[in-house]
Amino acid sequence: MSSFFDIFQQYDWDQTKAEIYAKTAQDVRQALLSPRRSLEDFKALISPAALPFLEDMAQLSHKLTQKRFGKTIQMYIPLYLSNECTNICTYCGFSLDNKVRRKTLTEQEIMKEVQVIKDLGYDHVLLVTGEANQTVHTEYFLKVLRLIRPHFSQISMEIQPLDKEEYGALIPEGLHSVLVYQETYHQEDYRKHHPKGKKSNFRYRLETPDRAGQAGVHKIGLGVLIGLEDWRTDSFFTALHLRYLEKTYWQTKYSLSFPRLRPFSGGLPPKVEMGDKELVQLICAYRLLDEELELSLSTRETEKFRNHCIPLGITSISAGSKTNPGGYTAATDSLEQFEISDERTPAQIADMIGRQGYEPVWKDWDKAF
């Protein structure tokens, strides 16, 4: 079975990076004018040469996003089921070597969390776990899906990579979307940041969207952890991955996130910093590449930044997130994966969205499908 790995191997990191940094203002102008943008255009749009064109990119991104999505912003919220993890990831609060109390929610605890989330107004939920295949396995996920499906219209999962057959088993029980971030497409750095656990297998993770696509998952979410490596080069590889997936699993939708490395207790500082300007540039570049792509922004970002991003090309946003299992019902934040920046409630975020002339959308799917 061919996979993205075959295409990925034809590219060289250093050469790709050099090509991005060699792009000129003329390349950017051409990319802005092009009716159908190529990956070469994308390289120009994420290059330093595009920074003086940021306002042009933003105006275009704004228009294209409204054309496709209208004036709406989808609301989502994570539900952390477990922080058990057998991987060591240098940047993550759930890393095996991080001394925190481990917790996997029981059915009763999950239902308590579901109640709070429902009371906040949510109808879509994103289930999140670490990777602990002994306890948090397909059987556990099946149990959770059967338990919570009656309460949500759409269920997404950001969990350990699974096999095609496992995804296939979860879909009829209500799995809609799979989010799996490559973290970085730089193979040596990936090895450095993932020294232990199943996640250290770069190729298995890289081929996860292929397996999800083959299983017929409705939507697949991609992304890298910005800060681990040169974000421009990593973003190019994300776009390459996206284009491959769109052509191969053409019945699947795609979404993208741009998490910037956030501090957690005892974690690494980012190797490569990305400023707000560059994040706006990246959001707009993705929109200019792909009008259909869902772009989401989490509570990792600050209040001010999130307010201004609403008209820029973002299509979904989280609010009121807790990143620890039991976070919505327990008082303590001590088990969290990362610190959040924007602490506003979902109602406050919905109000902010409404004041900008957009409608916050809580339900955009039906379990009858």
Partner: protein, 254 residues
């Protein structure tokens, strides 16, 4: 260079053998076009005769034959025709044409999908003639098609790229070569298809019925090359006038 299955082509102009006033004129025109893939209607070839006149005139150049199933009305007949063609012409390339409608010769998408799946399983390199339907193209890819041949306009109509918006979507999404077939009536149409990013075009009527088929063949050859060159060079878009609007990124400067 264009690759389809195990064959590579320098020329992106595919041609046909029908409608010429004589085999020798056909030969002159096709040689002048420098085409390397020529479609032949199975129904027109004398399979019993090892020295078929038309095939004889195609010898001596690096021309591959692309037998087509023109005349069949459904998948079953198409598979049978393809097997006959493979045996007679010693090629596993097949241009799949299923048009039950004898008036406009429009392709049947359902029978074409079925036949493509079956022929791909039998080891054929299938090039199906289809409507410019992007979803059908993806379905054909899923069952193992080697290329897709969407029409620009009804066959023989010389109307050009009436399906342009859909051709653009097909070209954007395709994982197999896209060959624009049917409706190309002038070299400018061929150039336009190539500028859009088509991998090749197939032209028959416009060359065969021209007053001077040899000159027209050369004109098409040049148009295809020019269109491809322009595509690779990167076309600039028509400039849009700027519209003043309130700035979206000024918050980054404070």
């Amino acid at each position: 260079m264009l690759t389809i299955a195990d064959k590579t082509f320098h020329s992106r102009l595919f041609t046909g053998t029908g409608k010429f006033s004589s085999s020798s004129l056909m030969q002159q025109a096709l040689f002048a076009s420098e085409t390397e893939l020529v479609t032949v209607a199975l129904k027109r070839v004398d399979l019993q005769n090892a020295t078929d006149d038309m095939l004889f005139h195609l010898q001596g150049k690096a021309i591959h034959l692309l037998p087509n199933t023109s005349g069949v009305r459904n998948a079953k007949e198409a598979v049978l025709a393809a097997q006959l063609a493979r045996e007679a012409l010693e090629t596993n390339f097949i241009k799949l044409e299923i048009h039950p409608d004898p008036k406009y010769l429009l392709p049947d998408p359902i029978e074409t999908l079925q036949a493509t799946e079956e022929l791909a399983k039998l080891g054929f390199v299938v090039l199906p003639y289809i409507h410019a339907d992007p979803v059908l193209c993806k379905r054909l890819e899923d069952v193992g098609t080697a290329a897709v041949m969407p029409l620009g306009a009804p066959i023989g109509s010389n109307k050009g790229l009436k399906t342009m918006d859909f051709l653009e979507i097909i070209i954007e999404q395709s994982r197999v070569p896209v060959i624009v077939d049917a409706g190309i009536g002038a070299p400018s149409h061929a150039a336009q298809a190539m500028e859009l990013g088509a991998d090749a075009v197939l032209v028959n009527t416009a060359i065969a019925v021209a007053k001077d088929p040899v000159q027209m063949a050369i004109a098409f050859k040049m148009a295809v090359e020019a269109g491809r060159m322009a595509y690779l060079a990167g076309l600039g878009a028509a400039t849009k006038s700027a519209v003043a609007s309130s700035p979206l990124t000024s918050f980054l400067d404070v």
